[in-house]
Symmetry: C2
Subunit: 467 residues, 2 copies
């Protein structure tokens, strides 16, 4: 290892490896929790409490005080009983330990508690022997824990910590649907596959979209390419061969990760492990970019719906695509789009080549040599001016929407159920119906002045570069 790389890694390890004190504190809390859990469970039920998450696997980063306690039920317990009993047991444990709690919801409800300064999630789940036959996603988690506990060399625990922290620095850590990045489990599997943090990076710089990692060699490579044709990275789950652990990883994050690995190996830097807040540029600086491009920006602003990122972000992306389709169907060419969303406000950024088109529109039809298609085209456009272009039929008619802003205003002004019928997802449809601003020109500038982080977002938009 080159000395500069060694030096940086030593420095980062000081940040990410928990102190003995932290480890002891967590161990003590775990012991208490387990004792309490057994006490509660033994009174009435046959339930097995087990720890999961990065703490159970020994790969948590210093200061990450999240403890996951799973209450494993027998497969034969009915779902409603699992939910009811699970929550009862969880509440009892928290109460006995003097903690506070709230109910949270994933596929089924669980308890989110605060105990002795730690966040503790207590999650009821089924103890399913075969991870490919689970009843809900959380049932898979204990399998992952057991696999990592057995497959990951104890000497490599800190390598996982380095890799996770490196992902954080690259902005690609987290498999939630906002981030679309690398999960902790994925980082652990990469270390199982490649070895040290440096080994992982040296492998990563060789990655190309469509890379396949089958740790336990469940499949033939060719069949995997067919099985996951659109995933940039396929990492077969050792406990469930039909699952790609990297399924939510976006192509963009995949490429960002490779670039960061290449840059880091070329010039190791401590700062690569930290996500620096982007300074919001001044309005004057942004205005210069806007003036330089001479495109037409439309900002669609609305109140951010109060839902989990995992729900919100897919909806925001889908809505943006819906708006893009609407514009393109009406021949307004969309140069680029973007999504900015803070706790309070969301802005869909639409950048158009032009926002006004002539009064007439031409549509190209089928080849005049294609008798069947010609007939239906001509039947459809009976009464219009139909002519030929290069052997293809063409028709001219009055354009329905000459102005992009008017088109968007009409679309977004629909009722909530109309918006949903037109493909706008539920929470976004509700938010748009409640309060939407369609901004262009000076109104775009006003929004940019108002939200610092929107300016930061637009700065990144203008400087977006993956290579």
């Amino acid at each position: 290892m080159n000395p500069s790389l060694q030096g940086v890694i030593t420095d980062v390890l000081r940040e990410v490896v928990p102190s003995q004190e932290e480890k002891d504190a967590i161990r003590r809390l775990q012991d208490k929790l387990l004792t309490r859990a057994y006490a509660v469970v033994k009174q009435r039920y046959s339930i097995e409490p087990v720890f999961t998450g990065s703490i159970a696997k020994g790969t948590w980063m210093a200061g990450a005080k999240d403890i996951d306690l799973f209450l494993m039920f027998h497969e034969r317990v009915p779902r409603d009983e699992l939910e009811r009993t699970g929550l009862d047991v969880a509440k009892q444990i928290v109460q006995d330990m003097g903690g506070r709690w709230e109910i949270a919801y994933a596929e089924h409800p669980y308890l989110r508690a605060q105990i002795e300064g730690h966040k503790v999630d207590i999650v009821p789940a089924y103890d399913v022997k075969d991870a490919s036959k689970i009843k809900s996603a959380v049932d898979r988690t204990p399998h992952h824990v057991r696999y990592i506990q057995s497959a990951l060399d104890k000497n490599l625990l800190n390598e996982v910590r380095l890799l996770k922290k490196f992902c954080v620095g690259a902005g690609v850590y987290g498999s939630d649907l906002k981030t679309e990045g690398f999960s902790g489990y994925l980082c652990e599997l990469l270390v199982v596959e490649y070895g040290t943090f440096e080994d992982v990076l040296r492998a990563v710089v060789q990655w190309r979209p469509g890379t396949i990692i089958d740790v336990e060699e469940h499949h033939a490579e060719a069949s995997l390419k067919k099985k996951f044709p659109h995933d940039p990275l396929v990492v077969i789950d050792p406990v469930d061969p039909n699952r790609n652990v990297a399924a939510v990883l976006s192509l963009e994050n995949f490429l960002v990760f490779i670039r960061r690995a290449r840059e880091f190996l070329q010039e190791p830097k401590f700062s690569a492990f930290f996500r620096l807040p982007v300074m919001a540029p001044s309005m004057e600086e942004l205005q210069r970019h806007l003036d330089e491009r001479q495109t037409r920006f439309v900002f669609i602003r609305f109140s951010t719906p109060d839902v989990l990122d995992d729900v919100l972000w897919p909806q925001l992306r889908k809505c943006t695509e819906r708006v893009r389709t609407l514009l393109e169907e009406n021949e307004f060419e969309v140069l680029r789009t973007g999504i900015w969303s803070s706790d309070v406000a969301t802005v869909l950024v639409i950048e158009l080549l032009v926002d006004e088109l002539p009064a007439i529109q031409k549509r190209r039809g089928p080849s005049a040599f294609d008798a069947a298609s010609s007939k239906s085209f001509l039947d459809h456009y009976r009464g219009y001016n139909v002519f030929l272009e290069d052997g293809f039929w063409a028709v001219e008619f009055k354009r329905k929407n000459r102005n992009a802003m008017e088109l968007l205003r009409a679309f977004l002004g629909e009722g909530e159920s109309e918006l949903r019928a037109k493909g706008v997802p539920s929470y976004v449809a509700a938010a748009l119906h409640e309060d939407v601003e369609l901004a262009t020109g000076e109104h775009v500038a006003r929004l940019l002045r108002r939200f610092d982080s929107l300016r930061a977002f637009m700065y990144n938009y203008f400087h977006r570069n993956l290579v």
Copy 2:
């Protein structure tokens, strides 16, 4: 035949069938010409004079006083001798008959003479036994004459006259490269194939693009579709099975002809046989259309090159396509184009959706999953802002040409040889270099006011409809 059809046909026949007086006059002139030709030829040469053209075939329309006299040379005569001797003999004939002449040029030179009020073309050609082995296009003509003389029933001569006149009325008569319509020979073959004028029209309304007529059944139909995949009508030349007699017929004229046949059979009208001059609309009326469309018109005006339509029109079309390509390469979407050309001036009409675009341009690249293409794309755009769209690479850069007029001005302002190097054909390149006006807005209106027939042309442009 329905009585109204019969009535119209009777009326038209009065127009197109030459009077006995006209027939006698032509016959007398033919006799004199032939006597004179034999006299000249016998003095020195072994050359066979034969009449060709519609007069020789008995299908000429009343008043069409063009006589074609071919001087048939033996195949073994060298080409330069044929040209020299042919012209000498032709001149001698014309001089002996007190006519005037000028030399004209097709594949080889011939004499265009004026004798006793008739236009007489005297054309040297080779007497080639097999029409598929001719030395130049004119050698085929006597074969056509002999074929029609033997295959066309004498009772159907007037049916050919009706059909030709009907083509005139539809604006599709003539196989020159301006008209791209039906030749006289093609009309004759259709009568040979189908029978009377009415029979022809009843067959025509069943035509679809790709129709094949193989009068002498030289080929299997499937092989012909492969041989002429882009010709709307394939009529195999009885004297040369590799040739499509309808090769120059445009798809548009093919469809116009079918529509006119359908309309005529539904409602027979005398006026269908006459091409009415289009009245030039007023500038106010045209301005209304321009205002309604709200598109951007660019008129490229230059002096019409002094060459045959057969040379000029393919060049004008090619130049228009070149300009269209130039605009589309620069992302200016061309709605439609048109070509107007009078004796003095030519205007290429370009109709654009927009004539101004933003300062930046985006280009879509290959799929990020395609390693080889990705590499060359990224190498090519090193240093640019490269990002992803839907799994495809995209790059943004400064647009080279933001303004369509400036783009065209720069292109058309090139030297003649540069224009030719860029794909503008020779005569048009020379004309553009000498004098070109690039008009838009008020300057378009000025050109429209200046040329009545340009206004008529634009009126048709706005009302273009094939069905």
